[in-house]
Each structure stands twice: as C-alpha cells, then as structure tokens.
C-alpha cells in the first residue's frame, strides 16, 4: 500500500492534449480484453432477455415468430402465462421448498467448512496434510456414484424425501470444495497476525471468530454464493433424495414436471423459469461486490 507515498501527478501536457499516442496504444492494448468482456456479457444477457420477453408473449405469437420480433411494434404482451402457472401449478410451495432446501444446505456446509479449513490451515495435528489431500481427492469423485449407497442408507434411517436428508446430502457434496476454497484463503493470511494474537492472549476460538472470520468475508461470501446457486439450481440431487413428492419438491423439480405434464406449453415454462431465475440474480447482484473486494489492505507492510 502506498498511503504514505504521494501519487505521481500525470504530466500536464498529456492531460491538456487529451488524446496522445500513448493513450491510443493503451486503448489498443486493452482491446482484446474489452472485446472478450463485451462478448461474454452479450452471450449471457441475450438468452436472459429472450426468456424474459418470451414469458410475456401469448402462445400464438410464440409459435410463429422469434422473441426479438416482439421488441418492435405492434406490441403484443400478456400476463396470461404468469397467471396460469401461479394458479394451476403449486409454484408457491415449490418456491418455499427451494428456500427451505437452499438456505440450510448453504449455511451448514459453510459453517462446518469454516471451522475445518481453520484447523487445516493453522492448527497442527497428526496426519493433517494427508487428510487434507484425501479431502481434495474427493473433489474428483462424481456424485452419481454416491447415489445408491446413500439412498439405501437414507431409506434405512427414514431420511428419504425429507428436508434433513437433502441438507445432509448437499452438505456432503459441498464440503470438499468449501474446505478447499476456505483453507487456501485462510492459509494466505499473514502468519504474523496469528502470532501477534497468540502473544496478545487470544485463544484458538477467539482468533477464529475475531480475526479469521472478519478477514475472510470475501471468501465466505463467494463460497455462500456458489453453494447457494448450486443448490438452488440443482435438479438431480433433489430428484434422487426427495423423489417427485410435490409437498417437498423444489422449483427445479416442479419446472421439470411442468414440461412433462403440459407437453406443448412452452410459454408457461418461460414464465416459471424466469421466476426461478430471480432469486439467483438477486443473490448474485447483492453480494457481487465481495467477489472483487479484498479487505486485507493495510494489515502488513507500509
């Protein structure tokens, strides 16, 4: 950090002239980056907008023309699709179920992972590195291979089709990555902070709660975003452990059923799909600043 150093003032001539050969060169140098970013943004926004526009179009228009034609007059928008899915399918229950599944299935693994990652990165115990290695190895295990053993265990424990069962399943699937991510972040914290805290008389738990956690907000936030989005968008795990029971089915399962039961009713699917997208969008945009911000600045060095 260069707090003490005054910023070097830009040469006066360059500021006065505005465009100089140097700024042009910089602009050209950054061009590939800008093109890539704009390309990615467009690739992401076009289908999203298309879905949003389509969800307001009537079936007649839907079947005969592309969604972009709706953006020019004559305008022909309707709320029928939303009215229909909200009144006929049990989308409200599914919406609630998705929250009931996603929130604990995010909080539980994030909490466990934070404690575990702290132990892996800053505590000494026998076999620490081997256990960590095994854990990282679990990242490579495809979750499909776990279905049958876990399902039969859940059946004997009576956890099939319950929220508790799917919370545990998501916790298990999420933990390896969560611990890996957090342990790497914790390890990068300066060792001096821990030594200083030790001399200051802080115990292990105090260090964890008062120093490690506050400094790891960016890492925790990105972990929570990842895990929440993964659970919210998950269809496979929910279908396996919850089955098709409508009382506990999350949005993804209900959406999948919508196609099956309605056959040609694509226009209803667009409305339902957009509803299910709203939550991830809100989560992402409200927490995205944590992706880019580090609060470590100023901890060490001058």
């Amino acid at each position: 950090m260069s707090v003490a150093r005054p910023e070097v003032a830009p040469p006066v001539e360059a500021a006065a002239a505005g465009i100089t050969p140097r700024t042009i060169l910089e602009w050209i140098g950054n061009l590939p980056l800008h093109v890539a970013i704009i390309g990615l943004t467009v690739a992401w926004i076009v289908p999203t907008v298309g879905l949003l526009v389509s969800s307001f179009r009537p079936l007649s228009a839907f079947a005969t023309s592309g969604w972009w034609t709706a953006l020019s007059p004559p305008f022909n928008f309707t709320l029928d699709n939303y009215q229909h899915i909200l009144s006929t399918s049990n989308l409200g229950t599914s919406f609630f179920n998705s929250f009931m599944i996603s929130i604990p299935a995010t909080v539980i693994p994030a909490t466990v992972a934070a404690f575990a990652a702290y132990a892996f990165s800053w505590m000494r115990f026998w076999g620490r590195d081997w256990i960590f290695l095994a854990l990282v190895g679990l990242l490579a295990v495809p979750l499909q291979v776990t279905f049958i053993p876990i399902l039969s265990m859940f059946t004997s424990l009576g956890l099939n089709g319950t929220f508790l069962g799917i919370w545990l399943a998501h916790t298990g699937y999420g933990l390896p990555f969560a611990i890996y991510l957090l342990a790497n972040f914790f390890r990068a914290l300066p060792a001096d902070l821990f030594e200083s805290a030790e001399i200051d008389g802080a115990g292990t738990l105090t260090v964890f709660f008062r120093i490690v956690l506050p400094l790891s907000v960016p890492a925790l936030a990105s972990l929570i975003i990842f895990q929440f989005l993964w659970v919210w968008n998950d269809l496979l795990v929910a279908l396996i452990y919850l089955g098709g029971t409508p009382e506990v089915a999350p949005l993804t399962v209900t959406l999948a059923n919508l196609v099956g039961s309605l056959g040609q009713g694509y226009q209803y699917l667009t409305a339902a799909a957009f509803l299910s997208m709203i939550v991830p969008l809100v989560v992402f945009f409200s927490l995205q600043r944590y992706f880019v911000r580090g609060i470590l600045a100023g901890s060490v060095k001058g």
Binding site: A4, D192, L193, E195, S196, I199, L215, G298
Partner: protein, 351 residues
C-alpha cells in the same frame, strides 16, 4: 520490570539444522539490548524463543527468576512488535490497541484509560477511529508500539520494527524509541540487521553470526575492541580494512606498507585490521601508507577514498577539504593506536 537470561539455549529444527547454538546472554533490568547480525544468523529465532513463538530445544530462558520454557506466550508478560506490525486490518486503531487488554478481560474503563494514555504518548489521539490501511507506515508502526505499551509488559521485544520505514522516518523513530525506552523504564530487546541501529540505540549489543553469539558489549567496547574479524567487519561503516600481513620483530609487513605494532604478538602471519578513520591525512606521526585512489566519495562532513596500497584494497577517511581526484596517489598516516590484528585461521583478535 525484569531481567532476561538465556542460559545455554539451543534451537534445533532438525538434527542437522541448528538455528541457535549454545546462546548465553544476560539482559539486565531496564536495559536496551540489541541483537544484531546478518540475515539468517538466528537473532530472530532467539527472540521468538523468548516470546514463546518457538519451542526451546535445549537450555533455559528466564524472565526475572521465572523459567519460561513451558509457559505460554500470553503468560510471559512480554509484548512484541513485529516487522510487519501485524495490525488487525479490520479493527480500528483503538480496537487494535485494546485487543490484548480485552483478552485479559480488563474492565472497559481501564482499557479506555490505558489506550488513551498510550495514544497520548505516541501522538495517535487523532487516529483512534481509523483503520490501519488509512494510516501511513510511520503511524502503523506507532500503533504496533501502542499495542505493546498498553500491556505494561516486563519486557518489550522488537523484531526489526524500523525496516519498513523510509530512511528519514527511520532515523526519527530511532530517537523516539530511545526516548520511549527512557520514559517506560522497561527492558527492551531489539532485533535488527542494521549495525547503525545497533550502535545508536543499544545500551549493549549482542552480535550473532551463523547461530553463534560472537560478542556482547557496549557499542564503544565492540567498536574499539572487536573480538574477532567478523565483528570487526560487521560493525562500522565503511567497513574496516583487512590486510594480510607477515609479522617480524613487532612489525607487520603488508604488500604496500609496514607498520610497528603497539604490542608484540606470537605469530608469523595474520590479518591487520584498521578502520578507515585510522588511515587519514590528520595523523602524521604513524606509519606512512601510499595509496592510489580509485574512487572518491564526498559526504560533506567526510570524504572517503577507496583505492589500493600495494596489492590490497583499502579505504581511508580524510578531511573533506582535501582535494583528491581518482587516479591520484596520496600519502596518508596510519594511526598505530587503533590497529587490530586477527589470527589468519581462527580470525580471533590478537590485538
């Protein structure tokens, strides 16, 4: 307030790598002791063993009369200032300084008094609400000191606390630290690789090299009577001149000059050591040395000449008003009262 004793302390990381060997130092109560040496010499390890951050392989460390080998860092009644300052980045300056006291479960009012007292001493009153990243390097350094002061420890440990400051601030903080030591009347143990810091701040200096303690003494003592060639070369700037000599009848003969030794020595050959200021135009009664000048450095108050005498590279400190240009040959006097002679093999001081 307490003394600190290292009693035959050894630090071994593996059977082959020993960081500190048989380290014996007694630091008196209220003394400012500087541990100095090149990087990797074990000085930081010695300090960290005292702090409780490293285990002690062999020997004893005592603070006062208490053996602290198996006492946790927090119970040793010490405070440490780290090179990186190790401030808690998410806490305000006030909270940083209050943290060790909160850990002791001290009442809020007392914490407040102590923090304000420390911030008064260090001139941090206007910054208490800021986060460390909004402070300059010098201010951060003072917060780190403040966090140590509030604990009223028996011993202050400082691990290269000035090395992240720029030259001017470093000189200023050096003086402030000395004042602080006088005002607090506490034992300070200060680790540095900078011999200037060691010479200017220490009541006594302990010089380490390669895990071994070389010499302990007052700055004057070490400067005038280095125990071996390493100490002689490490302390002092520009560094001492070392010239191989053969000895005969109390005379040391170098490739370019001869000098009578103040004391006779039982040896055939050795290494003659003399500081640049012993070779000067100001002394005329000593031995004469012809020097061919390669480089001239003028510092205003001083003038250093780097050159050759016979086959040996030597440095001289002369009057800045003396006009010398590179390529000149000058005739300088060598002050025989400040000659050192080192054994060629053991490198111990013979004179």
């Amino acid at each position: 307030m307490a003394s600190v004793t290292y009693d035959h302390v050894v630090k071994r990381y593996t059977p082959e790598t020993t960081a500190v060997r048989d380290f014996n130092v007694e630091v008196a109560d209220k003394e400012f002791m500087v541990l100095v040496g090149p990087s990797g010499c074990g000085k930081s390890t010695a300090l960290r063993m005292l702090a409780g951050l490293e285990s002690i392989s062999e020997g004893q460390i005592r603070i006062g009369d208490r053996v602290v080998n198996n006492i946790a860092a927090k119970d040793r009644d010490i405070a440490m200032v780290f090179q990186s300052y190790a401030l808690y980045p998410h806490m305000s300056v006030f909270d940083n300084m209050a943290f060790p006291l909160q850990m002791k479960r001290m009442p809020k009012a007392d914490i407040d008094t102590r923090v304000r007292q420390a911030s008064g001493i260090l001139g941090l009153d206007n910054f208490l609400k800021r986060k460390p990243r909004a402070l300059s390097g010098g201010q951060r350094q003072r917060v780190a000191l403040g966090r140590a002061i509030v604990r009223h420890p028996q011993v202050f440990l400082l691990d290269e606390p000035l090395s992240n400051l720029d030259a001017k601030l470093r000189a200023q903080t050096r003086i402030e630290l000395q004042k602080l030591h006088r005002d607090l009347e506490t034992t300070f143990i200060y680790v540095t690789h900078d011999q200037v810091e060691a010479m200017t701040m220490g009541d006594r200096i302990a010089i380490m090299y390669d895990g071994v303690l070389q010499q302990v003494g007052t700055p004057d003592d070490i400067y005038d009577h280095p125990a071996n060639r390493f100490v002689a070369g490490f302390i002092g700037s520009p560094t001492m001149n070392f010239v191989s000599v053969t000895l005969q009848n109390g005379t040391a003969k170098a490739s370019g000059f001869e000098v009578n030794l103040p004391k006779s020595v039982e040896a055939q050959r050795g290494i003659l050591g003399f500081r640049p200021e012993a070779l000067t135009d100001r002394v005329q009664d000593g031995a004469a040395v012809e020097m061919k000048v390669d480089v001239v450095e003028r510092l205003g108050s001083d003038q250093f000449l780097y050159g050759q005498s016979g086959g040996d590279a030597i440095t001289a400190r002369v009057d800045p008003r003396l006009k010398v240009a590179p390529g000149d040959s000058v005739r300088l006097g060598l002050d025989t009262r400040s000659l050192h002679l080192f054994d060629g093999e053991t490198e111990r001081a013979l004179i």
